[in-house]
Amino acid sequence: MADALKSKIADVFDEPACGTNVSKSEQQRKKGCAKPLTPGAAAGGCAFDGAKIALQPIVDVAHLVHAPLACEGNGWDNRGAASSGSERYRTGFTTDMTELDIVMGFGEKKLFRALRELIAAEQPPAVFVYATCVPALIGDDIDAVCRAASEAFATPCIPIDAPGYVGSKNLGNKLAGEAMLDHVIGTVEPAECTPYDINIVGDYNLSGELWQVKPLLDRLGIRILGSLAADARYKQVAMMHRAKVTMMVCSKALINVARKLEERWGIPFFEGSFYGISDTSEALRTMCRILVDQGADAELLERCEALIAEEEAQVWADLEPYRPRVAGRKVLLYTGGHKSWSVVSALQELGMEVIGTSVRKATEEDKGRVVEIMGSTAHMFDNMAPKDMYRLLKQAGADVLMSGGRSQFVALKARMPWVDVNQEKHEPYAGYMGMVDLVRALDRSMNNPMWEELRGAAPWDEPLTEGRVLPALSGACPVTGAEGATRPVSLVPPLPPRSGAEGEAPDRVRGGGDETPVPGSTRHLPAGAAQGVAGFTSSETDFEDC
């Protein structure tokens, strides 16, 4: 690992704004906060994945992945970050390194040529060049190539140095933030600054979630100046240093960016969430308070309170029709972070019962909140193996599972309604209006008449009752030439149809079948077919099987 990268990683791990880090001893802190990955039992993406996820929502930038095909080819265009403008961010650009490139060391040249072609074809405001394991291993100097290309093609080429093997997705997020701090933030000045300019960090505008919140900001006269990286333009990242406050949405992944914005440019930051009604109101309040502290007119606070009161009344009124449809239903929550607490309290308010929640990634502080909301620790669980979850759902201990895509099929195969609340979801659930969308999704999922049908018995689960005798099949199978069963078939079959000791009961012939066994007729009859309690002999010779 290059020394620069090594020190960068040590730097992001030693995060003074992170509570967990601060509480560690000096020695623990040196080790960093990356948990060692367990071979054979690891899940989740690599550092490159994390860097790409954090930056890809910058919509007008060309994202060029310097790698053999897998890194981009297997992962492009798989997330629902929405754009109100350019669609360039969805295009998969990669250098597609071949064996020859690697063996002969052509990587740097290929990257430079790729940059020339890309800039000529697309004329993007900037190109982000992602380093990956292979070029890092063979020593491609991506920094140097980017410097040369920036100069040669008059377009910023930004190296994103987060090869997969250095660590987890979370670390990749942080390294991406460092790249922005080093190369992008502060490079462009806005035409005009206002006291109502904010940064939003850590939101990805999945399915348009940012736009569910933006009307609230529009009404308060608050401008999203900087964004990392929801529906962001390159210039919005470059201008981040001129905002008055930074809101860190949901995740601590990019806390290094927020802290360094404060250190370098004196922009205060706060953590907030737009999931759930109370959290949305709280985030707006905090945002306005800091803006006023930073010099905005104090009447902003009044307008903010008025807006919150109006919107909260509206959302509860909108939710009311769903109350009879969701009240009393049991929800099992299985998400990683702490972002859903506010959602939980809203669901409880609507009469739903949250029967359990995972705390696998939660901090002690988060766990405290669980106890506060749920009343006890009884509903908390750590990881749940898919097998256990399947069993829990199958026993109908819950009416719906809210989780990420990984447990989707555990729920579905247990014939259990499932609502996606993770990043891959296709519906936005942010802000006040998002809460209504979420409850609507829960209603639509739980109350689909399909579930009852799917859980019902198959036709063959019930024993046949009528008593009649059918004659034996006539004629030979057209495929194998085997003669049909020669015994008649009774309509009163034993249950279970094909168990018990072989050949125990004699074949009783009833009705008008041919009583003489045809040679070879037993050849295609399984041993168990001729036995049973009531002389039932099921024929195996239908045209499907023979």
């Binding site: 035409a191 348009g208 933006k214 529009d218 210039k235 063959w460 045209f543």
Partner: protein, 461 residues
Amino acid sequence: MAKLVHPKRALSTNPLKSSAPLGAALAYLGIEKSIPLFHGSQGCTAFAMVHLVRHFKEAVPLQTTAMNEVSTILGGAEQIEEAIENLRRKSAPKIIGIASTALTETRGEDVPGELKEIVARRTDFDDTKIVYASTPDFDGAMQDGWARAVTAIVETLVPRVTERDPDLRQVTLLCGSHLTPAEIEELVRMIRAFGLTPVVLPDISTSLDGHVSDDWTGTSLGGTPLDRIAAAARSAFSLAVGESMRDAARALEERAMVPYRVFQSVTGLKPVDAFVRTLMGLSGVQDPPPSVKRDRARLIDAALDAHFHTGGLRVAIGADPDLMFSLSTALTSMGAEIVTAVTTSQHTPLIERMPCDEVILGDLGDFERSAKEQGAQILLTHSHGRHAEHRLHVPLVRVGFPVFDRIGAQDACRVGYRGSRAFLYEIANTVQSIHHRARPEDFGAAPIAEEFEHVPHATRH
């Protein structure tokens, strides 16, 4: 549940229904070596034939008694006799299926009486069976014409029996007009899987399935052989698929004491379960073949994958009652909502059972208007719905008759576990094909400031 609405208007815009004689002709084409004959003017036949050809992409034998002014006034018995004679000479059909039209019905011709007289007098016609169904264009739709023709076939060709001598391994499958050749084939496959032999009536799966035969004939290219129709008298049971087949099933019961069961739908999990359960009972098979069980398990998985797209889906459907009912119930059982239902015929108890508030007895004009008002997200009707598709910007799934702007309509299968699975995929994929990208204005958010947008500059190359 639903009530029937007759729109208060004189003008019909963009017809939804096809005529009853066309349905009768199609049913006759499901009999081996048959020629349908319209008792009416030439145009009645020409329009119907073009309609059939456009849908099936096959040469369709369809003849006319070519009523002229004189015969229209004086009576068309001679025209019928001459038509039969000419058809026999030219194509030697084993059966001629006659369907009346609005022209001859308005005139009030006593065709059954005349036919009786002709057949009694012309003993040389003995080796051609003649079936007649009264199918005035002004009453009912394609489905009704088909149903009357099938009843007429049963009443003419199935012998009356006084003592029951059932072949317990044989069942009669009475196919409604909404079944495509592939769907008939699928039902036959399921019946055979239980060791039963079906008499399929009528069987367009062997005549209009779109195949190249070794020889050219002027009659239908396949279909139920006449002796098999007679053999239906010995069937253990009649499986009537489609409510419109109830009359034919009753006729069979009345003539040959064959008990029956009507399956109003064989699309969707529960309806197919009922069909399979009946087959289990008939065959005495408690443990169905693995293929049937696997197909059910697959349908359940398909339902799980599809319900994300069908849940809350607002559907507009326009079709003959049998088809409308079976597809609508399959969709509502998946959480969809029927916001517009337009049908062609009131001669059915299914309208009351439709899972919606009202069913319009109307045309595609009503269909389009209602779909727009109700904010339908998907349209299900025949090819003529494409105009509504374009105007409303809502995708169209082509179902029913005619489908003339897509090939392979005869291969669409939406029945049985397999067909239901394909139907769910079809609907879910159509929903997904609507490429909707979220926009700020969808949520009432202001667009981003222009200042932030990148203005491309010419590079130095």
